[in-house]
Subunit: 345 residues, 2 copies
DNA sequence: ATTACTAAAGTAAACCTTAAAGTAATGTCC
DNA sequence: GGACATTACTTTAAGGTTTACTTTAGTAAT
């Protein structure tokens, strides 16, 4: 059934030259005369030769491949970052091996091991919300595999990281909310075990403290980054008849959960309850009402991460000092948190 | 800087056994005694051995890897399918190499070549909207690489394909629209060069014909699957003061473009203009109004595709007869196209 | 005519793993 | 006690490519 793949050797035999000559010719090596090179390329084309990348990589001891590990993929933030990473990789002649951890630390660890076994030239990773065991990252470092964290970073020093200014972003959102009159502000905070959750929480607190607005602990709920968590947290407060006027959510899906819950119980956003979230997705402007948010520029994150990684790969034998980039956010105001809610009774 | 990676040989030397003994021991081969196996595993662990997958694959002449090529990734439909494919692959001990063609045929071709060079065991692909040159697929077939098309399929016979029943899905939507009273129905049809566009168009026409509703050619516009195309098509009709009462869009992003344009010019959906689309995304229920649609079950598509592919891989040397699966759709009615628009003046 | 160099190739070895075949020591059976 | 199995290894070779080194023939310089 399966045609045996054409190898350098097949071409060599056909032309009565050595394998190495063919290998060199196809790579335009000056050792080989122009005539021979042409002839070899002609035959290679004719036979439909494609190099065996596994053999090439084994010989070259690297793979021209970058591993990317993300917790989720059917999610605008990661989808968009990944797409940008692919573009840059493609332009630089790298292949991407994408792994999806599904927010599971164990799976993440396995993926990283696989990537190292595949001899990827470098790794870009955004860790799961439950990643606690940091040994694997130490192993990566020991092996000298260039590594860049994006967005979600574990508590280790001296690593490359491209981060969002989560604290300032959250601060800006809450500051704005207070300025337009809100006082009863809640925060659905995701996991504060992880940097993004923790820093957004800190930004929230800092703004509240700065403007001397009391934080009601009932309104600050931790749990996760997904829709269901937004839904459940809302319902918990609703059943307790203890809703704030504005909820600041740690992510866009959490806000979506709130939207869904609110519509289910007949509360109107932004009039009965207002929402603003961290994280921007294309569709937010199509929601009812359009959801205001703190925007994280995914293209810049991807570009910075790839730039650092490619540089590290190039200089891998010299060693390098870790780079930490912190990307600023913009507050995007749409149909929520703009002063038409309960702050204006 | 970089620790040289530990190989089988390093372990072998340390224990004064042969490389092959180590290789066998680590794979629990019965040739090796329990004691030796234990000892070898202990040392392997101690040294932090990870197998070199490239060497293993070169030796095994396959890669335990599946290539996936999609036109887009930051898009709910593909994101969701990919996520499902990853899950199934992970459960079956396969790695996924994901390539994103960005709707560019040339890039797609290059990706497929790369995947073959990487000796992937099989390929799942959804082609770009501009793919015309089918030679590359013939090459894949010749090389005996198992291949499954999903959703978007080129015009070739005897290939594996998992398709949506696009025609019937579109028919159902239009039939429903006519039954609730719509007569002035337009269709933003994407590209009809490709099966999904063509079949949805056919379903549209068939329903219109069956119920003897006239098709106004001005309202049937081709162009693409993205938001901008929905936006522009709408604006074209709006400026010509020639809008239908209902627009059936070929994709969910196109509908989003219509939403955006409509809100920009101050038209209310569904009252001034109604919309229904092909394709479901999680967020549609959060739109204003919630967008009704023809649902494509991404989990089933992924499962069917992977099932066919894995079977093909297993039986690759025996040859196999191509399988074509056609997945049925459901009409999901939310806040649009439910009989509260212009059909009811 | 000898040395020195260059162009265009070839040979050997390495990358790391695995399958297949071989070996030596021990055990089993009638 | 000779034929045959079994156990626990080892050796050899193969997978396809590349890098480093060597060879050969021809040209140029002295």
């Amino acid at each position: 059934m399966r045609d045996k793949a054409i190898t350098l050797n097949d071409i060599a035999k056909k032309l009565n030259v050595s394998t190495v000559t063919v290998s060199k010719a196809l790579r335009n090596h000056p050792d080989i005369s122009i005539g021979t090179t042409k002839e070899i390329k002609r035959i290679a084309e004719e036979l439909g030769y494609t190099p065996n990348i596994m053999a090439r990589n084994l010989s070259a001891r690297h793979s021209n491949t970058i591993g990317v590990v993300v917790p989720k993929i059917a999610h605008f933030f990661f989808g968009s970052i990944i797409e940008n990473i692919y573009d840059i990789a493609f332009a630089n002649n790298y292949e991407i091996i994408l792994m999806v951890s599904e927010e599971k630390a164990e799976r993440e660890k396995k993926h990283i091991q696989t990537l190292m076994a595949m001899k990827v030239d470098g790794i870009i990773i955004s860790i799961t919300q439950e990643t606690k065991d940091l040994e694997i990252f130490e192993t990566v470092r020991k092996r000298g595999v260039p590594l860049v964290f994006i967005d979600r970073v574990p508590e280790i020093q001296n690593v490359n990281a491209v981060l969002i200014n989560d604290k300032l972003g959250a601060f800006k959102a809450i500051e704005h909310a207070i300025k337009i009159g809100y006082r009863k502000i809640g925060h659905f905070a995701g996991y504060t075990d992880i940097n993004i959750g923790r820093n957004r929480m800190n930004g929230f607190k800092e703004a509240m403290n700065k403007y001397k607005v009391e934080i009601n602990p009932d309104w600050v709920i931790e749990g996760g980054f997904g829709e269901n968590y937004g839904y459940e947290s809302f319902m918990k407060l609703y059943k307790a008849k203890n809703l704030p006027d504005l909820i600041f959510t740690v992510s866009y899906p959490v806000a979506l959960g709130v939207y869904m819950a609110a519509s289910e119980v007949g509360l109107k956003i932004p009039n009965d309850l207002d929402v603003i979230c961290f994280g921007n997705a294309k569709v937010q402007k199509f929601l009812s009402p359009p959801l205001s948010c703190v925007d994280q520029p995914t293209d810049i994150i991807a570009l910075e991460a790839m730039t650092i990684l490619l540089e590290n790969i190039e200089k891998r034998d010299e060693g390098f000092t870790p780079i930490k980039k912190i990307i600023d956010t913009d507050l995007i105001l749409r149909g929520t948190c703009i002063g038409n809610g309960k702050n204006h009774d």
